[in-house]
Subunit: 107 residues, 6 copies
């Protein structure tokens, strides 16, 4: 983490620079780049984890990011439906509402 290359600052840089650096360098710079799982697979499991944990604020970004990584809208809807059984209907219900908005904004 003593990397001296300039990395793009992320959304936490203003008040949480250390967390921001970890996010940019470790989470997005290393973990998401590891070849052991494709980015499509990583997006699938990230979206699943966010739905299951009711992380409502982070879901919009990752629903969009998942589409950039090759997950289709139909697949995202199917992830939500699958999660109804593995995290409960309320988690799926909230995810449907968020997905509806995210999809509408970029149509």
């Amino acid at each position: 983490m003593t990397d001296t290359n300039q990395k793009a600052q992320g959304p936490f840089a203003d008040i949480a620079p250390a967390l921001d650096q970890l996010t940019q360098q470790v989470l997005f710079g290393e973990v998401w780049e590891r070849g052991e799982l494709s980015k499509r697979d990583r997006s699938l499991i990230t979206v699943a984890a966010l739905i299951a944990q009711y992380r409502i604020n982070e879901l919009p970004f990752h629903l969009k990011f998942a589409q950039q990584n090759g997950v289709t809208r139909d697949e995202l809807v199917e992830v939500i439906s699958h999660m109804a059984f593995y995290a409960g209907w309320p988690a799926a219900s909230t995810a449907v509402g968020i997905a509806r908005k995210v999809f509408a904004e970029s149509t």
Copy 2:
């Protein structure tokens, strides 16, 4: 659900027959069979959701089932590592311990 075909009974049949029937007919009979997501994808998101929610009792079955559905051990370990960032290190730590046992049993 008034299907008169005999379906295999599942693990809840002894004391929770209604839940068992829903599990066999709806969850495994319908949801897992829907073509909108491959079984490999469904296993990936199921394992992610179990790790993220610390569902320690259900994780062994789904780590094995995921392998039947084409997820490799290296990929499962990578899912766990990815979940360290999306559900916290403790969730990943427990999943490593469970995976170690599951992998050892079937070596």
Copy 3:
């Protein structure tokens, strides 16, 4: 699930028709109709689970639905207070805020 009767469409029908059908036919069509628990009992446990899991988006509907199923406002407030001990004060605090709004809207 090969039922050919027309069922009312629910709130997920626009983007998640499969989940919507499961909701209408299985969750509301079968589970809530099973006689093993009264609808009042089902509403009590549903509201408790929503409070305990901080499912803030689904709580308004179920606070209203519980009243239709015979749970009084005083009982709903008591469920919230009981949950303070079984899911923590923050979960109860948020539920009080939601109940206050729901009750005010239908006075």
Copy 4:
């Protein structure tokens, strides 16, 4: 809380006497005794909250206590099945396993 009557000590008294006193005097001494909800209702919502939150260590006591408070085994199984939809199949699956043991021990 300045009650000078001797109260029975509870299970936390050895290492957490303050929590034990709060448990005996406030939680069981006051909250469970409030007439706004019957003990049967309180047991229903407590069991639901424990299942939904995967509180595996506390569930055995409350499955037994619920029966003392008038909830039948069939009703407890139905609570678990209902929770499959409101907290996910894994939570219900674990609860079935715990209920099976609890019921077997007291047959």
Copy 5:
């Protein structure tokens, strides 16, 4: 709880007077006043628990209260960063957003 002194009413008094009384007398009147942990320590662990559990509605009050109890803004940001590892990045991300607002309001 047979205290006859007038205590200040809290935010739940309008619709949940029993919970309000427990909050004022037991939680804030007793627990927060116990000398076994300083108020600064209690604020640290309360904020940590709220972040970890994604209790988004209660976090603003406790971020302010923590500052009254001697936790600095830099320390609060560090708690959030630490929680990224113990509860996942999404929990930390949401906490950063809330802290940003809370800090801005009282600058």
Copy 6:
């Protein structure tokens, strides 16, 4: 993370070497070493987060580690009691049971 210094291997090295390296280098090597919070403070919030999230497998290590970092047993018990109010009685109850064992083992 291209550090060529040898670091001690941790408990995940056998099957999850990448996660192990992140744990040793980033979590324990950097985050726990940052001076913005004392190690005592970090232990307090870590234990609180583990209790609140019912991370039963990780709690024993961190109850011991907290004592190494200067948190007394009485303070740990008080953290548990405080968490009863912020994460619910069941989470505290399980933590008492774990603390009892951990304390007994090292008496």
